[in-house]
Symmetry: C2
Subunit: 472 residues, 2 copies
């Protein structure tokens, strides 16, 4: 008994590296091709050069801006230069939000400027700004519990802190303050709301991101203080004297703009109408150059697709790389993509979808939402990924944000989970720049996406589109 | 022979901890008192609370601003509250420089904004800004070697990188670009100069700091790009197409302002006219809250002085804690202090001077510039500091910046060298905020300054003012 585990391990080691797995629909030649893709990517991929090109030649590319159009042209040209079989655009329409200026200062009792940034979608202050006393709340729940009318003529301040985790799970509990702070504060009569940034660094940058209004609640300006400025404001408030703040924010929401999802395909050799998709989102917020969010996702999935395109024999199914439009302001690209597939009756052929939108940290886990009958394929893919430090996990995970809408229509998904320990240090700030990316980590991700996309496209096992749920 | 070192070590260990050292002028009770100061500081000092107070209640305090006056009032009130025997102000006069706005953008071929900050003392651009092609240089020497007139109508860009070292020695070789870039660029006909920030982080902040003009050379605007923006500009320049930049900088230099050195003293019990000084500088740049540069130095030397003031018996000599005015823009406080001592014939009584102005990292070395006959005192002080992880080094070192002027007049100095590995990540940026300070590291520094000041004031050994060198 005591020797048995060793014997099993020895037996496993004795298996040929390219052995197929029953039920995977993959043979030794397929595995060898996937291993070749993996090993070539690890030796050095085109991903970093693509992100360098996007951040240098386009830079910040908030949806609906002139740079959005330049980014679309950039992506189309890159797909073409990389030799994709088919490159095309699909329209994505959304309202345009524009940041103007944003300034904050403490007027009393300790006058000094504060670093803030307007939240995406926020209205501005009246011209000339607002000046009011700050009322502090530990979190959104505390604000929601404030008496009706108690914030009349005040500025609400929510100080909740995001906690750092590898998988980013500190974001969910904290981000409600950003999403709903304005509505909750306005319900109590506040003139404006400021929040501690939903981010993990102590660098003096405000973290932007979307917020929402409700039709029946007055729209008030919403901004994020950098975390050091939130510390500062909290220290002032703790002294017990009234703290008066001045906010001067200009923003504009304009009419609809039509951008595009940019798509490059490697056509499947046997089953071209069955599709495996990988991708990232092409838009960014307006302050950084959108390197980790999400130049990395775009660059590495383009590079992974291009590697597959260089194979002598294309996989059975089509590999589609998608650079989604306007993820940041409401998953517009992912929604438009899913709606177009649904309208064309293409959900059943949509075999497996993955998106990279969690920075540029190394991938540590493969997860998937597929028909259990297709799980042997996921496991076989996981075996090829294992030397990259990637574990296959049978539970948990979720599709990327732009994949969510098509998954909601029944499409299967996979997730290559990344180490996001420092993702929220840079995310949605001016500090999201190229230097934050480790080129070797990017190559590891290209390797993983190339293996995943290739083997999912090479197998003929059906990943199992589930029936579309009726809308409710 | 082989056993001898062990025997010597054993003999040293057998010495009573409070043993006096011949030639130190210190007895066992003095050493015990110093050890008591050290151990109380390590258990928790007032330094962090002082820095928190200064950064929260005053914040950025560029010399000559309304906040400068608030900082002077703050320091005076704190010295008084801490129980110093004598608290007084000495005038320091200097011209006032004020930052207005500062904006930069690439116009072509890849339009996008860049993060810059004007260098201290820089003139602004003409109203509306300047637009010109960038000419890049690897360093100041390369710019200086450019042909006369070759930069006519251009913007010079110097891309040299500061290298990170524990002792900050990467600063000297890099900072010439900041100090002299404008003069060298103007000599060649440039309209403006931009430099890579003289700093070690890859956070998207421009690092400001002083620069100089020469009377015979036209004054052109000078600004620092954040390091990620310098990467970006270099990547654009490397593509070989002309890069057009737009700079729009507003600054103002106003007439003279009189601020103050703020001084608190613990009066010596026997030799009150012999003085040991410690201190930091009270002013900061205008963007951060001046936590590490130099709220830390002010707070920790105040706390160290206050600890000495709490002793039942004051040391023989006077301990003077100095919060210097306007260090940042030209050591005005240190120069005024030295000039006042020289005018009063007080240089010979000026026993030992030290300044903390290198951030809030732990102290790792004691160095000094004293009469060799007084070296046993330094060694004895070093023995009390050793449990703090501080080594006594017989060579090297230099006085703090504000101590330099009085040292130039012959006064002896000591240095408590700090770990500055990350100092230039934050120095002269908006990111110089309270959260960058480890309170426990600050306590270690308070312990070291308290021991140094107390024992240097308790001994009657003369540290040996050297004759004033004739000016040349």
């Amino acid at each position: 008994m005591r020797l048995l585990p060793c014997l099993i391990a020895a037996a496993l080691l004795a298996l040929p590296a390219h052995a197929s797995t029953p039920g995977s629909g993959l043979d030794a030649a397929d595995i060898a091709a996937a291993e070749g893709l993996r090993d070539r990517a690890i030796q050095g991929s085109q991903a970093w050069a693509l992100v360098e090109s996007l951040t240098t030649e386009v830079g910040p590319r908030i949806a609906g801006s002139p740079a959005d159009a330049r980014a679309v042209a950039w992506a189309k040209a890159k797909f073409e230069a990389l030799g994709f079989d088919k490159v095309y655009l699909e329209p994505v329409t959304f309202p345009v939000w524009v940041r103007g200026h944003e300034r904050a200062e403490v007027l009393a009792p300790f006058p000094q400027p504060l670093v803030i940034t307007a939240l995406g979608g926020s209205v501005g202050t009246p011209a000339g700004g607002v000046e009011a006393e700050v009322v502090a709340f530990a979190d959104l729940a505390a604000l929601s519990a404030a008496p009706e009318g108690s914030l009349k003529g005040k500025i609400a301040y929510i100080s909740n802190r995001m906690v750092r985790f590898k998988d980013g799970r500190g974001y969910g509990p904290a981000v409600g303050a950003r999403a709903n702070g304005a509505v909750e504060a306005a319900k109590k009569g506040a003139l404006a709301v400021v929040i501690r940034s939903i981010g993990t660094s102590n660098d003096r940058f405000g973290h932007t991101g979307t917020m929402r209004y409700l039709p029946e609640v007055p729209r008030i300006p919403a901004a994020a203080l950098s975390n050091p400025d939130a510390d500062l404001l909290s220290h002032m408030v703790q002294r017990g004297q009234p703290v008066r703040l001045r906010l001067d924010i200009a923003t504009e929401t304009r009419g609809d703009y039509t951008s595009h999802n940019v798509i490059g395909e490697i056509r499947g050799r046997d089953l071209p109408d069955e599709v495996v998709t990988i991708g990232g989102h092409l838009d960014s917020w307006d302050q950084g150059t959108g390197a980790i969010d999400d130049g990395a996702g775009v660059g590495l999935t383009m590079a992974a697709g291009a590697l597959i395109g260089e194979l002598e024999r294309a996989p059975r199914r089509t590999v589609r790389v998608i650079a989604y439009a306007n993820e940041e302001q409401g998953l517009y690209g992912g929604k438009a993509y899913a709606a177009a597939r649904a309208a064309a009756g293409q959900i059943p052929g949509h075999q497996l979808s993955a998106e990279s939108d969690f920075g540029a940290g190394r991938i540590y886990a493969l997860r998937a939402g597929v028909d259990p009958a297709a799980w042997p394929v996921i496991e076989r893919i996981g075996q090829v990924l294992a030397p990259l430090g990637i574990a296959t996990e049978a539970t948990g995970g979720s599709p990327g944000p732009d994949v969510g809408p098509i998954v909601a229509l029944g499409a299967p998904w996979a997730q290559l989970a990344q180490d996001g320990t420092d993702y929220f240090d840079y995310h949605h700030t001016a500090n999201d720049t190229l230097d934050k990316i480790d080129p070797k980590a990017l190559d590891q991700q290209v390797a993983a996406y190339a293996v995943l996309a290739y083997l999912a496209a090479e197998t003929d096992v059906d990943f199992g589109a589930v029936p579309v749920k009726p809308a409710n």
